[in-house]
């Protein structure tokens, strides 16, 4: 089992995801520099957070034009699990792999804080170890994380059970219906604004809190182990 972490110039959570997968979860994960041509050897891909290309123009838009994204699109079609976290989510949206758009937070301010979200779909490769309506403690850190979508497409998201996580108790950025994560129709591509890699080790959790956010990676491992050998 091998997971590829796609690194663009300006990605900055690549090392964090690498650490959590290899050192905490015991999953073999490797970096893929954005100019690499072949991504065939990976069983899943993660697009980590950061500021690819400095988030110039708007978050994720430049990275979405790079050649590797064409290869990623092909893999998405083949059903490979692909997870975009924060900037990775923005790139997936800009690449057209996920619907909607991520615009500036309502307060027009970057926001880094711990909050809670709720699981709405447990049938994806990233959530199969959760129970429906589980509460997940997790931090956000973004300036452009407000998920917006028109009503028709929102209806479609709901009909297809594509809303995977919603924020709970508070809407940190003004997202439509408090949406924190969505997946594509098939469920193999998920974009998530909060950072599960930051909530996967107990020592990093704020005083006395507990978190099951690491289940996102465990779910992926669980999903892959059912058909990938080694």
């Amino acid at each position: 089992m091998k997971i590829g972490i796609v690194v663009f110039p300006g990605s900055n959570c690549d090392r964090d995801v690498h650490h959590v997968l290899n050192d905490v979860m015991g999953i073999n994960a490797q970096y893929i520099w954005h100019t690499e041509e072949s991504i065939n050897q990976y069983d899943a891909l993660i697009l980590p957070g950061g500021f690819s290309y400095g988030d110039r123009l708007r978050a994720g838009v430049i990275a979405a034009q790079s050649p590797i994204v064409e290869a990623i699109k092909k893999k998405a079609q083949e059903g490979l699990p692909i997870l975009g976290i924060c900037n990775g989510f923005q790139i997936l949206v800009e690449a057209g792999l996920l619907p909607g758009a991520l615009v500036k937070n309502v307060k027009l301010q970057f926001s880094c804080k711990w909050l809670k979200m709720e699981v709405l779909n447990v049938n994806t490769p990233f959530t199969n170890m959760f129970s429906l309506n589980d509460e997940v403690t997790i931090p956000i850190a973004h300036g452009e994380g407000r998920f917006v979508i028109d009503d028709d497409k929102l209806g479609e998201l709901k009909r297809n059970n594509q809303i995977v996580f919603k924020y709970k108790d508070q809407n940190p950025n003004g997202s439509t219906e408090m949406i924190a994560a969505i997946c594509n129709k098939e469920g193999n591509v998920m974009g998530l604004m909060p950072h599960p890699e930051r909530a996967s080790e107990s020592i990093l959790l704020p005083n006395q809190t507990k978190s099951n956010a690491g289940l996102i990676f465990h779910s992926l491992k669980n999903f892959l182990s059912s058909y990938v050998k080694n």
């Binding site: 959570c13 500021f51 110039r56 006395q208």
Partner: protein, 723 residues
């Protein structure tokens, strides 16, 4: 501008008239900002040796050995003048500069902290200058730090009207690396000199000189540089990769004074001569003159000295990251910085001459205002302590600062164990080694008594770090004053230095880095003496990490004796007694005794949580504990060891060396503190009442519901959010 006597000195040393370019180069390097000519004599006397110190002050960053081949690098810088005229760009480029100092040592930057000073934001319009500066400085730091993926893990913010129309922006950075990979900074004849990063432009021309005089008008925005955090991020990764592949013999970032200062300091450091062709420098525009190229302060640039056999590896790495670089010269001979333009020599100066500016001699004299302070306090009894406490909690110097810290990505890197807003921040080195760091300052105390005020900053900073379970191992000092040419200000500077020497020698904690910033004045007035102290602490066991959040441990103790020390306190400012009273005095022996007692009790597992007592005194500290733990607290004032004549003085005195401790093991704790001959007592308990109740043997002094405390404590956040 060079002074008359500097011009004469230069002529004598050079034996000829310097040309215009040479004078520009000297002017930048001999500016106060780069040369420390008013402070060098004093700064040199700071205790900077210790068994952990690998590199002390004077280089880009100090290097501390934390065992097992691990090192941390630390540095502090300020960007006050630029931030005062262009807060967003000024603050952002301040972050960039200090980060490059960390990568210059071959280490990866892992955390940032900021100490910020503004004029009051209380009772001022939304459009006021102080709020404009505050809002944009914070945004500048956030946008830069967040983009490069280095967490801003904490800091210190103070509001005082001596910063009217001005601000102080200090940024400290910590790097992590391996001792064996520290860049040794050496060079051989024939080595290649490379300038990489941003093309050189006309931004930040004469920035160093600009920062070395009073701020007299705001037409100086062109002296402020333009930030590009994306490029900085690429420079970080490329430099680290090049270091790991042994490409770099020596390196230095370009900061104040641009190429001119960088090249003279680097050639001096490696004890070699440099020959530089300016025509080779990649620039933003064609019409830039050689003089401008030499002193431009365009950001995100680094100079590297590399062996020519390593050029192809270097090229591979920098091409991978898409970083432009130019080969601008070679190492040749000794002690000579030779500048060519299209092959023609246009300047030739001794590096030694450049980096050793003649010392400035200033007079020092005790300021008159110190004679007019009223040490006796005469004031009528106030009766509503509830109201006073709530107003103190609403004071932005004391209250919650989430509005600031939430704009910073303080989690990236997976190292932030204790988050901003706590006693000190704790970052993970590995699962059994942690570094704690805190910046502290108190300009009100330092104004009323520069010596004791400075001792107080040191004591508070070490105390905060100790509260997290960390042994202090190094000090950063950032000394910020008005013009040294004013004898009264220079006197306060000398007193502050004396305090650092006394404290650090006594505590055996070395000074590992620092910075002096003079000329912090506007047309209004000079700032109060505003030193900022950073303490770096080491935690060698995960179980020693301690917080100030009461979750368990319901028995409350105070360690330390409370004296009537309200000079410069937040309480006296609140009731318009700014120039009354004595500032807290630090007894070095007690300070050390109490701090090591706390650390030893943490190690023995006797402490569940511990909180520092400083700004706003016991009243504030207890309120914070109640808010952090969302718990009721019940305290009997009678039990607090003190020599105060009134309850408000007891509640709000800012005496140092005090800790409030929560424990589950009161008997052992008492026994321990008795053995150590500490002054302490049990003062009360946490409970489930959801109120803070302070009484004197049953007679009520304060009784406030938690909700009200928390609400007031959040005042600044609500104000800045415009609610």
């Amino acid at each position: 501008m060079l002074t008359k006597s500097e011009e004469i000195y230069l002529l004598r040393k050079l034996g000829r008239q310097a040309n215009v370019l040479e004078i520009d180069m000297i002017d930048a390097e001999w500016s106060e900002h780069c040369s420390y000519k008013s402070s060098r004599k004093y700064v040199r006397s700071l205790p900077s040796r210790g068994k952990r110190v690998i590199v002390g002050p004077g280089y880009d960053a100090g290097v501390l050995d934390i065992g097992d081949d691990d090192v941390i690098t630390v540095h502090i810088e300020s960007h006050n003048h630029p931030s005062a005229v262009e807060p967003y760009g000024g603050a952002a480029t301040g972050v960039g500069g200090v980060i490059r100092d960390i990568i210059s040592m071959g280490t990866r930057p892992v955390a940032l902290l900021d100490a910020l000073r503004f004029s009051s934001i209380d009772k001022v319009k939304k459009t006021s200058k102080s709020k404009w500066l505050f809002r944009n400085v914070v945004r500048g730091i956030a946008d830069y730090g967040n983009c490069i993926g280095i967490p801003t893990v904490g800091g210190d913010i103070e509001f005082d009207n001596s910063f009217k129309d001005y601000c102080l922006v200090d940024v400290a950075a910590i790097g992590l690396g391996k001792r064996s990979q520290i860049i040794s900074n050496h060079a051989e004849d024939g080595d290649i000199i490379v300038l990489a990063g941003n093309p050189t432009g006309k931004d930040g021309i004469r920035g160093a000189s600009f920062a070395s005089k009073l701020l007299d008008n705001e037409e100086d925005r062109s002296a402020v540089q333009i930030p590009d955090p994306f490029l900085e991020k690429l420079l970080i990764e490329a430099t680290i990769e090049a270091t790991n592949r042994n490409c770099i013999n020596a390196t230095k970032d370009l900061g104040g004074g641009g190429l001119s200062c960088c090249l003279s300091e680097l050639s001096h450091l490696v004890e070699k001569g440099f020959e530089i062709e300016l025509y080779a420098v990649h620039t933003k525009m064609d019409d830039i003159t050689p003089n401008e190229i030499m002193i431009s302060e365009s950001q995100e640039r680094m100079v590297y000295v590399i062996n020519k056999n390593k050029l192809s590896t270097f090229d591979e790495i920098f091409t991978k990251y898409g970083i432009t670089y130019s080969i601008i010269g070679k190492v040749s001979g000794k002690d000579n910085l030779k500048i060519l333009y299209e092959g023609k020599p246009i300047a030739s100066l001794s590096c030694n001459l450049m980096v050793n500016a003649p010392l400035a001699k200033w007079k020092s004299k005790r300021p008159n205002y110190l004679n007019n302070l009223k040490t006796k306090i005469k004031m009528e009894m106030l009766d509503n302590y509830n109201d006073i406490l709530l107003r103190l909690l609403a004071n932005p110097n004391i209250g919650n600062k989430d509005w600031v810290y939430q704009q910073y990505d303080h989690e990236v890197g997976l190292r932030t164990v204790i988050k901003p807003g706590s006693n000190a921040s704790v970052i993970r080195v590995n699962d059994n080694k942690f570094v704690s760091i805190k910046l502290d300052g108190n300009s009100k105390h330092c104004y009323l008594d520069p010596y004791q005020g400075m001792l107080g900053c040191l004591s508070e900073s070490c105390r905060n770090v100790a509260c997290t379970g960390a042994q202090p191992i190094g000090i950063l000092d950032h000394l910020q004053f008005g013009s040294p040419e004013n004898p009264h200000i220079y006197w306060t500077f000398i007193k502050s230095i004396k305090a650092i020497i006394d404290f650090c020698s006594y505590m055996k904690i070395p000074v590992v880095g620092g910075k002096v910033s003079f000329y912090n004045e506007t047309m209004n007035s000079p700032i109060k003496p505003s030193p900022v102290i950073g303490t770096i602490g080491l935690i060698k066991d995960k179980t020693h990490i301690t917080n100030n959040v009461p979750n368990s441990g319901n028995r409350l103790f105070i360690l330390g004796h409370t004296r009537e020390e309200l000079g410069g306190s937040e309480y006296f400012e609140l009731i318009d007694r700014e120039k009354y009273g004595r500032v807290p005095k630090v007894n070095l022996n007690t300070d050390k005794k109490n701090r090591s007692a706390v650390l030893d009790m943490i190690e023995k597992g006797l402490i569940e949580f511990v909180h520092d007592c400083s700004k706003g005194g016991i009243g504030t500290a207890l309120s914070e504990l109640a808010i952090f733990g969302n718990t009721g607290i019940n305290i009997d004032l009678k039990n607090i060891p003190n020599t105060c004549t009134r309850n408000d003085f007891l509640l709000f005195s800012e005496t140092h060396s005090r800790y409030i401790i929560g424990t589950n093991n009161p008997d052992e704790l008492k026994k321990f503190m008795r053995n150590r001959k500490c002054k302490f007592s049990e003062i009360g308990r946490t409970d489930s009442t959801m109120t803070l109740r302070i009484h004197e043997s049953g007679k009520e002094v304060i009784n406030l519901p938690l909700k009200e405390l928390a609400n007031r404590y959040n005042t600044m956040n609500n104000t800045m959010d415009g609610i």
